[in-house]
Symmetry: C2
Subunit: 332 residues, 2 copies
DNA sequence: CTGAAAGCGCTAACAC
DNA sequence: GTGTTAGCGCTTTCAG
């Protein structure tokens, strides 16, 4: 910047004004400065800028997910990045790999960079550590999962209600032995989904059999192995419910076509499988867009009490969830 | 930091030393400082730190993709972030949406933040604008696509050879009218894939019919519509080749099961479709991991001439690509 | 309309 | 072991 000022024969202050498009610089002066900028290939240093600016905004947000490679989270990341770009902010990305300690470490590097806010898919575990970030002024919005014990906005779906409805749907088609295949119930979303599963069974007077409930599955292969084991057990399930898209892929790799199947999360090929897959669909782009808008509202001064936004889900029957079970009205 | 120093009764320099774990601070002093840090909830400001440090490294890299929601690119992002974390760096993410101008804008905000390097899936168009970033010291590694006219490392696969082999495979199964469904050929990868397609046809003495080649498809629905049109034409293809995973999903939504099909990129459900889908598989995680390692080597002083690393692909026959065509050896 | 001085929070280099 | 001084590249404030 000094070099540019020297080249243009002005002070650094004038360079600063021109570079930032501030009004109040004589056009000929501005032209000289611009020529010098081009000649020297000068680019403003936004790191130094952030240090001095009085609004103290870094124009950067942090995005913390389990794993960007997960299609649900990739959609969230993409939508969040879109909104951030519209709002003139950059996005730092981090993956927790479902480990709160790793999540905390990464978030600390975010806050050390003075991000304005955080969009967070919280891992299982206590998020009390985020209070110091909040005290420091970092705004936080959770997506897909609430963070119990944290006073922050959240954008989620009614996981409990959606799964409850889905299990009722399977029961209505004659199933009694319905397997549940999910990730750790300590993760808020999976806790809710499992609660919905149990609530539906209970409402229908069916004893929940822990032998056909599998928690802590983190990958397709995990789910595939779990289902293989369940199917070779003495009393195999007649229907399987998968907790999310990644697990659904694993289940579908090994599931015989005569077992009913229903999954959380819709996916492009669901209608093309044999049978077509019945799903509970949600809209990750809408979730993330809503969360990002909420975050920027907070960053720009919205101090109303934390909100929890609940977005809709939709049960899409396609065939796999309507395979009749042994107790179906018109026999098997 | 001043507050911490006052609280602990030391100078800011001592606080700096303790916070950075530098040797040469008496344990009791360090303990007092640490107590003050905790009491005041102090966290080092890495923005200010970066400004002063002499190595001038921001410990941040930029990751520029078309669209994080694309499964291939999500895998790249995830792997790149993993390596960055191991190397103590953060990742800024940006999406070009296949628009070089947007790509340039985002990259300029990256370099204004003084990222140490860039992992880039270049959009179609000239990347000469990156030369000033390189002159400024930003290291650049391309993944999946080369950036013509740019002197940078690249990690890619042999798209030409892989598609040529795949088209020979279809021809060997009796196909002559093979449709090609891809994105803009100005994107390096799709240019290569299309070249491979034409080279195989030519090698077999088959006239390429432009009526069954569709370029510039950017989404599943785009591909679905293109294929629908192709199939209702007077001389429909007997086989379809999809340029990537996203397009494959679109094609599969509308393709009758008696038309042969082959796609670039493997996907979890490929074996479960009817018929199972024959693919050219590549490993996005390996591509991105290799690119990230290359980038960090550059950042840490590797000044050898730019390299292009070529990773393997694999043709995985599963059924859809082996449906016999009208010219199959043993009749249809 | 333009410039000089001060300082953002931190660390390099050198004292003591 | 610890402190002092200077300055990273920029913007704020205030003076002309």
């Amino acid at each position: 910047m000094k070099d540019v000022a020297a080249e243009a024969g002005v002070s650094v202050m004038t360079v600063s004004r021109v570079v930032n498009g501030d009004a109040g610089v004589a056009p000929p002066t501005a032209a000289r400065v611009e020529a010098a900028v081009r000649k020297l290939g000068y680019q403003r240093d936004d790191v130094a800028r952030q240090l001095r600016r009085t609004d103290q905004l870094s124009q950067t947000i942090g995005l913390m997910v389990d794993n960007v490679a997960d299609p649900f989270m990739a959609a969230v990341a993409s939508a969040a990045e879109d909104v951030a770009r519209q709002r003139g902010s950059m996005v730092l990305i981090g993956s927790s790999r479902a480990d709160v300690r790793r999540e905390q470490e990464v978030i600390e590097t975010f806050t050390a960079r003075r991000v304005d806010g955080l969009i967070l898919i919280p891992a299982a575990g206590s998020h009390r550590f985020l209070r110091s970030a909040q005290a420091q002024g970092t705004k936080i919005v959770c997506v897909d999962r609430a963070a119990p014990g944290l006073d922050a906005d959240a954008v989620v779906v009614d996981n409990f209600g959606a799964v409850k409805e889905a299990v009722h749907h399977l029961i209505a088609h004659g199933h009694r032995r319905i397997a549940y295949v999910g990730d750790k119930p300590e993760i808020w979303t999976f806790g809710e989904r499992h609660r919905g599963y149990r609530a539906a069974l209970e409402a229908e007077g069916i004893d929940a059999d822990p032998a056909i409930v599998r928690h802590g599955l983190r990958s397709g292969p995990d789910a595939a192995q779990a289902v293989t084991e369940l199917l070779s057990s003495p009393e195999p399930p007649t229907a399987v419910l998968a907790g999310n898209e990644v697990l659904a892929f694993g289940v579908l790799a090994v599931l015989p076509p005569d077992i009913a199947f229903l999954s959380f999360d819709d996916f492009a090929l669901a209608p093309r499988l044999t049978p077509p897959v019945t799903v509970i669909a949600q809209d990750p782009v809408a979730l993330a867009t809503s969360a990002a808008h909420l975050l920027f509202a907070r960053i720009h001064g919205d101090t109303s009490p934390p909100r929890t936004v609940v977005m809709p889900t939709e049960l899409i029957p396609r065939g796999s969830g309507e395979i009749p079970g042994p107790h179906a009205p018109h026999g098997r």
